[in-house]
Symmetry: C2
Subunit: 317 residues, 2 copies
Amino acid sequence: MDFSQNRLCKLLGIQYPIIQGGMIWCSGWRLASAVSNQGGLGIIGAGSMYPEVFREHIQKCKAATNKPFGVNLPLLYADLEQLIGIIREEEIKIIITSAGNPKIWTPLFKEMGCTVLHVVASQKFARKAEEAGVDGLIAEGFEAGGHNGREEITTFNLIPAVRSVSQLPLAAAGGVYSGHSILGAMALGADGVQIGSLFALSEESSAHSNFKNLAINSAEGDTKLLLKSLHPVRLLNSTFSKAVEKAESLGASKEELEQLLGRARAKKGMFEGNLEEGELEIGQNAAYIRKIEPVKDIFATLLSDLKSAYSDLGKRC
Amino acid sequence: MDFSQNRLCKLLGIQYPIIQGGMIWCSGWRLASAVSNQGGLGIIGAGSMYPEVFREHIQKCKAATNKPFGVNLPLLYADLEQLIGIIREEEIKIIITSAGNPKIWTPLFKEMGCTVLHVVASQKFARKAEEAGVDGLIAEGFEAGGHNGREEITTFNLIPAVRSVSQLPLAAAGGVYSGHSILGAMALGADGVQIGSLFALSEESSAHSNFKNLAINSAEGDTKLLLKSLHPVRLLNSTFSKAVEKAESLGASKEELEQLLGRARAKKGMFEGNLEEGELEIGQNAAYIRKIEPVKDIFATLLSDLKSAYSDLGKRC
């Protein structure tokens, strides 16, 4: 395999077109630096960090790798301007934005000299992000863990649809966990991938081992897209998710769901390991991820499987 | 592209690894013979046919093509034994089974000298189908139109998952509508594809033009998986589907949904073109299919796009 002409690698200055998802409670400096050190793009997920915690993770990540890494910034974050101040001071040059309107913030990030990728879940929003001036797109399908698009478009449908309206460097997200899925994403039209769940369940992820163990022992059908009337989110089955499912099947109102959800459930579940009361965000492919491994081994397996997938493809067509 | 060693082509005696989905109210002899004449595998969908109508379609298909074609047989069909009698008398040699247990019927079909492919929606059922002795698998993801698996596994997740447990010839279904999606399916591990919606909306499909026109003008998010508590089915937005959605959001019971559904709604919608009261089954990719074309043109576009997709892939890795 030769990635020397790969547009995502060139845009980001990385060796392999593999971006690590910036996931709340999973992706601090340990995970981000491990991914960057293997030749992918490590990402510090700002979504679960207070500003000063965010700064600390950036500084530790700088100490742990001399390769490029970036940050994931949910544009609806309450302390957004403080985080942007830190990004500027720490001279972070790669920003992945999500959950908000890229039109408002992209010009500022470009002024700061940053490369900006925006996460989209439909062809429609891919067009809007390109109009806003982003440098690349991450198209994330229905199978992805955590927050998700309302249109429920799957990765398999989304990638060719986005590619048909934009020639920007494009990463596929949602369902990527093997070399076959990386090659599949590229064949569908993506330049590379963003991988979430597989890294959320790696050794270097800061998620609690209770959560990781539950996920690697889960079965097909054990994640569900819930809370659709608030903001769709893919959750692993748990006492809490079952309560949400039940409430929804009985026709709960938005207000009732908000009350049921309460606050800080994701921290409780994913970071503190409370599998009863916590919210557990993971992708549908958790059913096929069976081991908690170090990032180094994950990369070795992904890359050797990608080679096999490419050679298998040649036998089919 | 070279399909001379493609295992699905060899198994079925076809030129291109493209199977047409056997869809109720869409796939009679006109569509099936058109697909077979282009080098794919045409399929007569028995699901919406009385036994004597089924026989008539088989005989007309034989008159319209000298290439292989097959039939799709939902194993839960009320008149199943009568249909099997017709398959035997008409010497049909390719059967695609779905919606039922392959263990019960596969031995009989093999005794009749047939090639049997079974439709599965999970890794678990792929194993069971292989144990039942089928010759090939069709793995159909969440994005597919019509009846669908309870686990909601997407095509992008399902194909590598099935491939990792079975080496049988494998077709990917759900979301296939372009050369890029065919190559994507093959890169993920499938030997070929089954295409539904694109053929359901072709000129030769027996569906009503009202339905076809509504579908090619639909937008992202306009299909939804509904009636999950009865049997999940992907429907295009319509007056009827909105009533179902509303009832479900208010916590309707199974009995209430059964009553709301009533009888013969799919015929009313897809065959008679009643867009208010009818049920309209179509895949999520209807949002990206913009033309009603003859099967010949569809094949030409698919094959030329497949070539471009393969050459694009070489530039990425």
